[in-house]
């Protein structure tokens, strides 16, 4: 499998805590990879380092073989990395449509234009409507993002990232905070879109049913290091993972 993203000895310490400790991580082109581990294992920290939210203390990040370790968030987005957030991050006082349109405006460099009317950018609005349709949010287009349900907010969070046309999409707990009944439909929509468009996705998730159902490969983190990596079946049968992540009761 061709590597889309690779990290080499990526490290981040917060004081005495080794959040990410010399992690070698690999994401293959086109796969849906799940990142699992107990709370504090370093999953979100790893995504934060790769997406550029925090600088790494040491180590390297390569995207298609190009070193992006010291690039800005904006440069990484241009290179093809986008992300959603564990706690939904939206523009609550803008409409659902505006949230998605803003990503498109930004992607096309149109947000730098002071003297052109946003409303006259027909292509942008058309694309924003299309994306909302794909995510099943078309009927909410004119609602304020702060006024829609948690499940819809989760989808919109992903739609905003997807509108950047990424090659690598990090989804940080895309179903957290929603009812069990809503989780599978949300994941169905997301995985259908990423697979249709050949987007590589890295999903952080705690719901093991979701993980095993939707992942091509699973990487397990524990105390800041990668504990195991493999297919869902391999991970299910890995004794170390059973002990460290699922606990003795599951072993």
């Amino acid at each position: 499998m061709t590597a889309l993203l690779e990290t080499q000895k990526l490290t981040k310490y917060f004081g005495e805590t080794h959040a990410v400790d010399k992690v070698d991580f690999f994401v293959g082109q086109g796969e849906v990879l799940s990142l699992i581990g107990s709370n504090g294992a370093g999953k979100t920290s790893l995504v934060n380092l790769i997406s550029g939210l925090f600088p790494a203390d040491s180590g390297k990040i390569f995207l298609r073989g190009v070193d992006v370790t010291h690039q800005t968030v904006q440069a990484r987005i241009k290179a093809g990395i986008a992300r959603s957030f564990q706690i939904v991050n939206l523009f609550d006082e803008l409409t659902v449509l505006d949230n998605v349109a803003l990503s498109i405006f930004s992607r096309e460099g149109k947000t730098k234009k002071l003297f052109s009317l946003a409303d006259h950018q027909g292509g942008v609005w058309q694309e924003a409507h299309d994306i909302l349709r794909q995510f099943g949010l078309e009927t909410k287009a004119q609602s304020l993002a702060g006024g829609i349900s948690q499940g819809e907010r989760k989808l919109l969070d992903v739609a905003v990232a997807y509108a950047l046309k990424p090659q690598l999409l990090f989804l940080d707990e895309p179903t957290s905070g929603v009812s069990t009944r809503e989780k599978a439909p949300i994941m169905d929509v997301i995985t259908s879109i990423v697979r249709t468009h050949g987007i590589t996705a890295v999903v952080i998730e705690h719901d093991m049913d979701i993980i095993f159902r939707y992942s091509d490969r699973i990487v397990v983190m524990h105390q800041g290091v990668v504990l195991a990596s493999g297919t869902p079946e391999e991970i299910r049968n890995d004794e170390r993972v059973k002990d460290a992540v699922f606990g003795p009761a599951h072993a």
Partner: protein, 335 residues
């Protein structure tokens, strides 16, 4: 394209805008013939502060940055004019405007570079502190600025034409200069309207709502804030340049922090979550202050009480509240 444009909530029909904009424009044109000179000049002050208000509101309402230092840019605009008169013997109003734009651009670029690194209270206090530095320079460097005596600015030439020799100054200010101010006001409003309906303003609103997310859709936060700061400062500087011939004199009072507070007051009074709020607020504030000063020596207390009542009863300002009432009335009529 049309279909999508109509589907977007921000699209306004030009006809709908014309329904309220044309009568107001006509009214503004005939004001010098309807009101006495004193009231006309009061309105003129209101229009000038309206320009400062829409400039200020690009930062507060759209970018979420509350500046308590905008008097500095107003003062820079005014002092730029006074310096051009004193040192370059310029008398053209167009050159005054140009000079004030250049002057405020330089000052806001320096101040903005420092201020936009911070948000919330840190931004507000930094903007306030820097404006006070400028005020103290104007106050202490009296051999340059005239100190508390200020610098006088005579009647300027408008479009190359001087006021008539026998023309009364009050008549000039309430007629010829009124129309000049009105024309600049219309241009400024049109330019700002274009800016706040641009993709750039969408980016500002996004930064205001959620800075982290804005970064992760690819926006360079500081750059956008810096440009907003520059535009905001320049509009306020233009207001200062228009104000000084009307006032006839510029003193350090034009830069003092309490005047920055007045700009905030005007904007909150009209409503900072809509485009026209700061304009309405500036005009109303100017007349209100005029009446309050004539009504009681405790006019500051009177204005303070109004501000408290305003924040408690009309948090969306005059225009915001009017829109709410209008919306409610329309819904009731539709039933």
């Amino acid at each position: 394209m049309t279909e999508i444009a109509l589907a977007h909530p921000g699209v306004r029909s030009p006809l709908r805008t014309a329904v309220w904009a044309v009568p107001i424009a006509v009214l503004l044109v005939v004001v010098p013939w309807l009101l006495d000179s004193y009231r006309t000049i009061q309105l003129e002050y209101g229009l000038i502060f309206g320009i400062a208000g829409i400039g200020f509101n690009l930062l507060l309402g759209y970018t979420g940055l509350l500046s308590f230092g905008h008097a500095a840019y107003f003062g820079v605009g005014a002092y730029s004019v006074a310096f051009m008169v004193k040192y370059l013997h310029v008398s053209s109003m167009e050159l005054f405007l140009l000079g004030s734009i250049v002057g405020t651009l330089i000052v806001t670029a320096v101040f903005g570079y420092v201020c936009v690194r911070y948000t919330r209270i840190f931004f507000s206090i930094l903007a306030l502190s820097l404006s006070q530095v400028l005020w103290s320079l104007a106050f202490k460097f009296f051999w340059v600025t005239g100190g508390t005596d200020g610098l006088r600015v005579p009647t300027p030439k408008l479009l190359g034409m001087a006021a008539g020799e026998n023309e009364d100054k009050t008549y000039f200010l309430s007629h010829g200069y009124y129309y000049y101010v009105l024309a600049v006001f219309v241009i400024c409003v049109a330019v700002m309207w274009l800016i706040v309906h641009s993709p750039f303003a969408k980016a500002l609103q996004a930064i205001r709502d959620n800075e982290t997310r804005a970064r992760f859709v690819g926006l360079r936060i500081r750059s956008y804030r810096f440009v907003a700061f520059l535009v905001s400062g320049v509009f306020t500087g233009i207001a200062g340049a228009l104000w000084v011939p009307l006032n006839g004199l510029v003193t350090p009072d034009a830069m003092v922090w309490t005047f920055s507070g007045e700009i905030v007051f005007m904007t909150v009074l009209g409503g900072f979550r809509n485009f026209t709020g700061p304009i309405v607020g500036a005009v109303v504030y100017n007349f209100l202050k005029d009446y309050a000063v004539g009504f009681t020596v405790y006019w500051q207390t009177f204005m303070g009480v109004i501000l408290v009542v305003l924040v408690m009863v009309l948090p969306t300002g005059i225009v915001g509240s009017a829109k709410l009432l209008w919306g409610t009335a329309r819904r009731r009529l539709a039933r």
